[in-house]
């Protein structure tokens, strides 16, 4: 089976490469054409100079950071506890974490709008702050499948039981155990999940738009509907952000421990 490189392999590779590189090249080329007759970075200048770009981008970065914090608070103790005390519930919890892949984001946010309106017992949508909280929660749910998997993979590489017992013998409480023993040990896995969450949240459109929040995704859509060259520049910027997040995850993976008790 291990012969020299097959021509079919090269063909598949080149067809694939053409399909994936052409849109990127075309987008980049298009983004440079704002000034008639010459290539320039004018579109990028316009985009970066737009105060709404700065506001919405900052808003989405803030939301992403809170989403990551909430995701970590929710997932790390749960995944830890499942490994330590409730392994019989693992299939159930894994099923729940997969639900956001089954239920489309637009359905989840539709449910929020109907359940948390101003007449409900928990009127999150009645205030701006509450809507922001709901958006963060919604994003935490969207990233749940990825965050849970990342953390669970990280936990697999450490000996949770021994670490916990050692900490308990030394008199540590649950807060200390999770915050100062477990979290640092799965930090690389948590960071991988965090950067994936960031990549998902930063340009998300559906939830932000339907909750009427001034996020980066709806801003992108608005620019796309009204401008010619700026959207291409924004697409290039978005691609670079996604690329950056994935590169960080790859670099992190190199530092991740491979097997139990390896360090």
């Amino acid at each position: 089976m291990n012969r020299k490189s097959s021509p079919w392999a090269w063909l598949a590779f080149f067809v694939g490469a053409a399909y994936f590189l052409l849109p990127l090249i075309a987008t980049f080329e298009f983004s440079l054409r704002m000034e008639r007759g010459v290539y320039s970075f004018k579109a990028y200048q316009v985009v970066f100079g737009d105060p709404r770009f700065q506001e919405t981008f900052l808003y989405s970065v803030t939301v992403a950071i809170f989403t990551i914090l909430l995701g970590v608070l929710l997932v790390v103790p749960t995944a830890y506890w499942i490994r330590l005390r409730l392994p019989q519930l693992r299939p159930f919890v894994e099923f729940v974490t997969l639900l956001p892949l089954v239920i489309p984001a637009i359905v989840i946010v539709f449910g929020y709008i109907r359940m948390y309106g101003s007449n409900s017992p928990l009127p999150l949508l009645a205030s701006t702050g509450g809507t922001n909280v709901l958006l963060v929660i919604g994003y935490a749910m969207l990233s749940l499948p990825y965050m849970y998997r990342a953390v669970d993979t990280g936990l697999r590489t450490i000996d949770v039981r021994t670490l916990t017992e050692a900490a308990q013998i030394l008199g540590a409480g649950w807060v200390t155990i999770i915050g100062r023993i477990i979290l640092p040990n799965v930090l690389i896995a948590v960071l991988s999940g965090a950067f994936l969450t960031f990549a998902i949240v930063i340009g998300e459109f559906t939830m932000a738009s339907l909750l009427n929040r001034p996020a980066f995704g709806p801003y992108l859509q608005l620019v796309g509907a009204n401008r010619a060259y700026e959207p291409a520049a924004l697409a290039v910027i978005s691609f670079i952000i996604t690329w950056g997040c994935m590169s960080v995850i790859q670099v992190l993976a190199r530092f991740a421990p491979r097997s139990p008790n390896s360090r």
Binding site: L86, L101, P104, V109, M141, E204
Partner: protein
């Protein structure tokens, strides 16, 4: 760092496990209480709310009218185009992704090409939504680079019937994240094909073709089908790309639901619930198959 382990304080201050309650309650269960509470409040109950609403009339009484109203020509057409786009992009994406994965792993291509492809797939599978629509407008829109270049050599793809704001335009765009997703998921499965199986087949006198037909395809089949279903659900729930690409000119289900949430275009809130219910049924069925296929394929890849 002290409050790092107080999960769910925003919503349920009473939920986190504390030492004080240890004596009375089964603390084992309290450990995942915040997670369960969050999942209930922000995932399961909102979905159930819509599902229940789909089976009610405006007064809250049980009624099948909304479900029945789904079977009107315009809504059925929206489901049909959604299913067609999702299915086409899933099956083409799965086959193309499989071909690329096999090419980089088994095709004897240089090692750096393999790692570059896998890294790029990770990026491209997450490059969806509004920016992806921009990229394809810049490529295959009326003024896109490829459209213009083809025009210069005498091929006017728009005159030939192509339109980026159409079934094929949307499918072609979705493939940009579908193919890489297939590569990302199927690569470990192909890596899981043990070298010994190939050697054993060769020892028994199997030709390369027989090895593929009788070993590789049966082993990869469940993960292939499983990923196919995941790609389908992935495309079916997507809205941002289609919305940014076509506005509301292509009436797929998520866009119809989006318009309904924004302004009750169906003039019947319960019909909106039924629309959401239909989406859950379709992605739920798809993912049910996925889980079934995955448990079958994992038996082989241990």
């Amino acid at each position: 760092m002290a409050d790092v382990t107080a999960p769910g304080t925003a919503i349920a201050p009473s939920a986190p496990p504390t030492a004080r309650t240890a004596a009375r309650f089964p603390t084992r269960w309290l450990g995942i209480a915040p997670f369960i509470l969050f999942a209930l409040l922000f995932l399961i109950l909102p979905t159930l709310y819509l599902i229940v609403g789909a089976f009610q009339n405006a007064d809250g009484a049980f009624s099948l009218n909304s479900i029945r109203d789904l079977f009107t020509p315009s809504i059925l057409a929206a489901y049909w185009i959604s299913i067609k786009v999702s299915f086409a992009s899933a099956i083409i994406g799965a086959l193309a992704g499989l071909a690329i994965a096999i090419a980089i792993i088994r095709g004897g291509l240089p090692e750096w090409l393999r790692s570059t492809t896998i890294t790029f797939s990770g990026v491209a599978s997450n490059f969806a939504g509004v920016p992806l629509a921009f990229a394809f407008l810049a490529t295959l829109g009326r003024l896109g680079l490829v459209t213009v270049l083809l025009n210069e050599i005498g091929i006017n793809i728009y005159r030939l019937g192509f339109n980026i704001l159409s079934f094929w335009g949307l499918t072609l765009t979705y493939l940009f994240f579908q193919i890489p997703l297939m590569v990302v998921i199927i690569t470990p499965a192909i890596d899981g094909l043990k070298k010994e199986w190939g050697e054993a087949a060769a020892t028994l006198g199997a030709s390369t073709l027989q090895y593929w037909r009788m070993v590789v395809i049966p082993v990869l089949w469940p993960s292939f089908l499983g990923t196919l279903v995941l790609l389908f659900a992935n495309a079916f729930g997507a809205i941002a790309t289609a919305y940014a690409l076509t506005g509301s000119s292509l009436n797929i289900v998520p866009i119809l639901l989006y318009a309904q949430i924004r302004g009750d275009v169906l003039h019947n809130p319960n019909l909106g619930y039924a629309l959401a219910f239909g989406m859950i049924v379709i992605t739920g069925l798809a993912n049910g198959f996925y889980i079934w296929f995955r448990t079958r394929s994992e038996r082989w890849l241990k």
